[in-house]
């Protein structure tokens, strides 16, 4: 293997050096890979990659080079650099770009006596790539027009039967393959609802015909099974508008490699940054950013990461407060995105309060912080916040959303019990690994001080398996309930193997109306498709042996919190990151997988490692997050406005419904009255998610029907704006006899001081000259009617974006 470094500059970091078998031209600038190609069989193809290091803007020359085959009767090469066999033999190929040349050799064999086509290994990928077995076509549960395939081709045996056996065999004709219904439909020679899926005489078409002519062998087990795929390059920095051809290689259990580029599915997770076509050509767009090109062949997945830097940007690297900044600045430097400056003190304080304890700072707190001159006052403020009881209230609420604390599902007693248990965990700062074990292996009375009601909200092994997987492991395995996960390695067996941990959950109805959750002997579950028992095991782990005395869930918890578990620490690190930074390093934040990579992988790894180092002390971890300069950045500047995933600036966050309502109550000085709660209780302390409240409903309180954070709606709406502006409930708070506005109006404060106070109360800062002038105008206009002036000023502040959002 020849490894090469690339010219320095912004293209440093190319990972083409991973590629094997480069053929280097005399001038060492035109590189062709591989140097030698073996095509074995009539429909085999191989993708050539050509790299021109003399062209830093567009090094990939696969489509601009010309290919001259010395002996055209052996092989041919199309303009995309794909080699096809013509006849057995060997030939040289000359690759030319401008004055540069390089050579390679092609050997063709296996044409005279080809290996018979295997349905499983060679036809299924074609059906998948053509979309035949997709959810919109024959892959959907009821099939399409009487012909049904397993979705994404997870069941080759059934698919072979569907194609060959069903419909009285009318779909296939071995005697005249081209007249087969399947061939005629695929090429749209007869009307096909899905249109033309294969071009006549193309490789897939020829292979399909050969398979038909050979008698439609199922071919299960004919080949050494494929174990993984590789994509080249695995990582690439492209110029805006640049292109890169990909090559995909399948590796079988015996270590044989063959090119499957032409049979692979490609998809970009960010087509506006970099799109990819079915031939594997990546096309960079005109905006800087990053994209992951997902590559799939026969249930195996791989990813090519594309980075588009902003050209010609130079900025001074800001100082690093801790390891987080190091990784964030690395990424921004690579991309050429300058970070915003440090947020001012008021912005920091308000942000830290709302993020950490879901509560606005009071005017007194704001004043004290602004007046503080100690250099470490930000860190001190965070320390104080983490000691406040509101920290526990707020995080208990957030986790109540995730743990399905829904009164309708677990009764009022269950909701109260769960809320209390959660609150205690955050008050005592229970290490997160113990916290998770406490939930996964909960036992006891659902009305007691336990999280046992989680097993009432989720009352069957499968629902528990997939919910725990999503919640604590960031693996959304529910797809695998019915079929192989379309972008992961998880299959149906993995799904039922995981659910097997929850088969021993006993539920005893108590006379008090609550339920006692206890451990009972469990059992392994059957895969409903194969009918076979699946030994209980965690994701990617070995099967576990149980005795009837074991609580199976303990074994799962042991595995989850092991230091080498690849999912557990990353998932909670990403979840907390998303909370404090506005969006996850991985989004959706509980969907971590190779094909959905983090926007900054070294950072996520470092965060997970730090969390393990801290022994899952969440408060200490939170301290690290808030200490980072990256957390303390100001709002976007024009140079980084377009950046949405690299944390170059602060992003406004919607306030959760409860937090906003509490904030409205706090600034108006009029608490809300909640049914069944003591006087003065705050919205985020309300355990009853079904308590009627127009405000909470309007601002997106979740129904707690799933373990997904995404359930909390934080999209703005017209009705929200109308409510804040006009609702009589809010007008009443503004006008209340014992409210803030009245208190200030009746005070002796002169208008200037009064305006300062209002700004501190609502926005945690003093007004700027323009704002002060506008406010003073109001007081002059109102004349002696100070009350209405104060009410109007408070109304206006309460309706600003700055108030409604955490920025």
């Amino acid at each position: 293997m020849i490894s090469r470094m690339y010219p320095t500059g912004q293209f440093l970091g190319c990972a083409l050096c991973l590629m094997a078998g480069w053929c280097v031209s005399a001038r060492a600038e035109l590189q062709v890979s591989p140097a030698r190609i073996v095509l074995d069989g009539p429909e085999s193809t191989h993708q050539i990659l050509v790299n021109d290091t003399a062209d830093p803007r567009q090094p990939d020359a696969t489509r601009t080079a010309t290919y001259t085959v010395a002996n055209g009767s052996v092989a041919r090469i199309d303009a995309t650099g794909l080699v096809e066999p013509v006849a057995e033999g060997s030939t040289g190929v000359l690759v030319t770009k401008g004055a540069q040349t390089a050579r390679l050799v092609v050997e063709v064999r296996g044409l005279a006596k080809p290996r018979p086509v295997s349905f499983e290994q060679q036809i299924m990928p074609l059906l998948t790539k053509a979309g035949c077995n997709s959810g919109g076509c024959h892959g959907k549960a009821e099939g399409q027009n009487g012909f049904k395939l397993s979705i994404f081709g997870f069941d080759p045996v059934a698919d072979h039967l569907a194609l060959v056996g069903e419909g009285r065999g009318r779909r296939v004709l071995a005697g005249s393959p081209a007249e087969s219904l399947v061939a005629q439909k695929a090429t749209a020679r007869i009307p096909h609802g899905g249109g033309r899926k294969m071009v006549e005489n193309s490789l897939p078409h020829r292979r399909l015909l050969r398979w038909l002519a050979e008698g439609m062998r199922p071919g299960v087990g004919d080949f050494v099974p494929e174990v993984r795929i590789e994509v080249e390059p695995g990582r690439r920095v492209l110029a805006l508008g640049g292109t890169q051809q990909l090559r995909v290689t399948a590796i079988d259990a015996a270590g044989n490699r063959h090119c499957v580029t032409a049979e692979t599915e490609f998809e970009s997770n960010a087509p506006t940054i970099a799109a990819v076509d079915p031939r594997g050509l990546v096309q960079a767009g005109s905006n800087p950013g990053e994209a992951a090109i997902l590559v799939r062949h026969m249930g195996h997945v791989s990813v090519c990461r594309i980075t588009l830097p902003r050209p010609g940007v130079a900025f001074a690297r800001p100082p690093e407060n801790n390891f987080i900044d190091h990784h964030v600045w690395d990424k921004l430097t690579l991309l050429g995105i300058p970070p915003s400056g440090l947020a001012d003190e008021s912005t920091f304080l308000r942000r830290a309060f709302l993020d950490t304890i879901g509560t606005l700072p009071t005017a007194a707190e704001a004043r004290a912080f602004l007046a503080d001159t100690r250099p470490d006052k930000r860190a001190r403020a965070v320390d104080l916040l983490l000691q406040r009881p509101e920290y526990a209230d707020y995080w208990a609420m957030r986790w109540s959303d995730l743990l399905r604390v829904d009164r309708d599902a677990i009764t009022a007693q269950g909701s109260v019990a769960m809320s209390r248990w959660l609150r205690r965990q955050f008050l005592e700062n229970t290490p997160y690994d113990q916290f998770a074990r406490g939930i996964v292996a909960a036992r006891g009375n659902t009305a007691g001080d336990t999280p046992a009601a989680f097993f009432k909200a989720l009352d069957n092994p499968e629902a528990l398996g997939r919910s725990v997987s999503q919640l604590f492991l960031g693996v959304r395995i529910e797809c695998a309930q019915c079929h192989h996960h379309p972008s992961e390695r998880w299959a149906q067996d993995d799904y039922f193997a995981l659910a097997g941990f929850f088969t021993g959950v006993g539920r005893k109805q108590l006379s008090t109306g609550s339920v006692s959750i206890m451990a009972e002997p469990g059992k392994d579950l059957k895969n409903p498709r194969t009918g076979k028992l699946v030994p209980t095991r965690a994701l990617g782990a070995e099967p576990v042996r149980f005795t009837d005395q074991d609580d199976r869930r303990e074994a799962l918890a042991d595995w989850m919190i092991r230091p080498d578990n690849p999912h557990f620490a990353h998932t909670i690190a990403n979840r907390l990151w998303a909370h404090y930074f506005g969006h996850g390093l991985v989004e959706p934040l509980d969907d971590l997988r190779a094909t959905n990579p983090a926007s900054n992988e070294p950072l996520l790894d470092a965060l997970a490692a730090h969390l393990r180092y801290l022994k899952y002390d969440l408060k200490a971890f939170t301290r690290a997050l808030l200490a980072a300069r990256a957390y303390q950045l100001a709002a976007a500047i024009p140079e980084n406005l377009a950046d949405e995933q690299n944390f170059s600036h602060a992003t406004p966050k919607a306030l959760p419904a409860e937090v906003l309502l509490d904030a409205v109550c706090q600034v108006t000085g009029v608490p809300e009255k909640f049914m069944g709660m003591p006087e003065g209780a705050r919205a985020m302390q309300v355990w009853d998610n079904r308590m009627p409240s127009y405000f909470l409903r309007l601002f997106g309180r979740p129904v707690r029907a799933s373990v997904c954070e995404c359930e909390r709606g934080n999209e703005p709406s017209i009705a929200q704006a109308l409510h804040l502006m006009n609702a009589p409930e809010i007008t009443d708070k503004l006008r209340a006899r014992l409210g803030q506005a009245r208190r200030l109006a009746d005070s002796a404060l002169e208008p200037g001081k009064l305006i300062d106070e209002l700004f501190l109360i609502c926005l945690c800062r003093l007004p700027n000259p323009g704002e002060r002038a506008a406010m003073q105008g109001l007081f002059r206009e109102a004349g002696t009617d100070r009350r209405s002036a104060v009410e109007d000023a408070l109304w206006a502040l309460l309706n600003t974006r700055e108030f409604v959002y955490n920025h």
Binding site: G131, G135, G195, E265, A705, S717, I718, H723, N726, A774
Partner: protein, 445 residues
């Protein structure tokens, strides 16, 4: 290939919303869907032109209307099925309806009855979820929580909101007089949630919730407040959700101040005669307000009309309240739209989540019967004056070709020019077509 790409990722050129970004991020591998593109083209080829319906008024008779006593009587059945009502003639020769629907009978040439709708979810909440989203509920039928956010699947109005968007200064999707139980946006997000008029237009002091500034303040103070707010918000509009909120503040302000929107909501501007024609009822006044909103540009109005769950002694309430309310509202609405030249561009659908049992129970009521229900369609380019399908002699099942929930939804979308085979990704990356299965009801076109 281009077609399939756009149908798979219908994000257009708009800014990605958070949810959409989630969906796209979660995408994983999606197979190329050329079929939707093809169906889309076929759909347009079939109609041979632009869709006629620009708006839809959906009168939802929640609880399950006794359509066997209204639109599909069984005069030859035994008394315990037939019930006490007689059939009467309509303006279409040969078409008969129940005697208490005499107003609607007079305009039978302006709408079409579909007598072969049938599904098999007999629950209220689950049935409503099925009818309004096209997806069977994954939860058990139970307490009605009135949370207008469907757990996952978007309702028909949210789909219309997303696909057609607003047409003028009024919100594209409106519910009244409260949210439809399953009328939420599901995974589409609050952007496509209904704007809910949390107030009943039959109330003498009817006001759209929060639309008007508190009148205790008076006009000068309201103006002063808004002027001050504008001066505080004079900075550049931020990006992301906060920016969206800014535009919603603008829209809310427009809604409060725009004369046309204000006019649309002002039911008092209607002549007394018109208000009476629609009926002095919640359903009637909602139907009238719906017409005003459609005139102002609303795309989809969902009217929730309850109390149709008549298990006990059903006939007194049917003939005194429920049927006359529906009869007046529907006939007045269709006539009014027709006279204003709006019927062609406005689709009116009246249905519930189910019908009622053919056999009268021992409490003199009828129970849940989702196997049969007659659905009324008017306007929006349908062929009026027809009766589609039939039920057997006891009204227990369609005689042939039952029309499914998916068929009805697909037809409504088709009439409104929405490509219902389009697919969106849920937060877990599962592709969900706007309607799964179903076909356009050919007899309507």
């Amino acid at each position: 290939m281009e077609l399939s790409r756009s149908s798979r990722r219908p994000t257009g050129g708009r800014l990605l919303s958070r949810r959409l970004a989630l969906q796209v991020g979660a995408s994983g591998f999606l197979p190329g869907l050329t079929l939707p593109g093809l169906l889309h083209m076929q759909a347009h080829a079939a109609t041979g032109g632009a869709p006629k319906a620009k708006s839809c008024i959906f009168l939802f008779l929640q609880g399950g209307p006794s359509t066997i006593d209204m639109w599909d009587l069984k005069p030859d059945a035994p008394a315990e099925i037939r019930g006490p009502y007689k059939s009467i003639r309509t303006s279409v020769p040969g078409t008969l309806v129940g005697e208490h629907c005499f107003r609607t009978a007079k305009i039978a040439d302006k709408f079409t009855m579909l007598r072969n709708h049938s599904h098999n979810d007999n629950g209220h909440i689950t049935g409503s979820h099925y009818v309004l989203t096209g997806v069977r509920a994954a939860f058990a039928d139970g307490a009605n929580t009135r949370v207008p956010v469907n757990d996952l699947y978007p309702s028909i109005g949210s789909v219309i909101s997303r696909e057609l968007g607003p047409r003028a200064g009024v919100p594209p999707y409106i519910n009244m007089p409260h949210p439809l139980a399953a009328g939420g946006p599901g995974f589409y997000g609050a952007e496509h949630a209904p704007f809910v008029i949390e107030s009943d237009p039959i109330q003498p002091d009817f006001e759209v919730k929060d639309l008007r500034p508190d009148e205790r303040l008076g006009e000068p103070r309201t103006a002063r407040r808004h002027k001050l707010l504008r001066s505080l918000e004079s900075g550049p509009t931020p990006s992301g959700r906060a920016g969206t909120m800014a535009t919603y503040y603008q829209k809310a302000h427009d809604l409060m101040t725009s004369p046309s929107a204000r006019k649309a909501f002002d039911l008092r501007a209607e002549p007394e005669k018109t208000r009476l024609a629609y009926g002095p009822t919640s359903l009637g006044q909602c139907a009238l307000l719906s017409r005003r909103l459609v005139e102002a540009g609303c795309r989809f109005v969902g009217v929730d009309h309850g109390s149709w769950d008549t298990h006990f002694s059903c006939f007194p309430s049917l003939e005194k309240d429920l049927i006359p309310h529906a009869d007046m509202a529907f006939s007045a609405l269709v006539t009014d739209l027709y006279e204003r030249g709006l019927l062609d561009s406005t689709l009116v659908v009246m249905m519930g989540e189910m019908g009622r049992t053919p056999r009268i129970n021992d409490k003199a009521g009828r129970d849940h019967w989702s196997q049969t229900q007659t659905v009324l369609f008017a306007g929006g380019g349908i062929q009026p004056g027809r009766v589609i399908g039939a039920t057997d002699k006891t009204g227990s099942a369609p005689t042939a070709d039952p029309v499914s929930v998916a068929d009805i939804l697909r037809t409504i979308f088709h009439l409104m020019g929405v490509d219902s085979s389009k697919t969106y990704l849920t937060p877990v990356g599962r592709p969900v077509p706007i309607v799964n299965g179903g076909k356009v009801i050919q007899g309507l076109l």
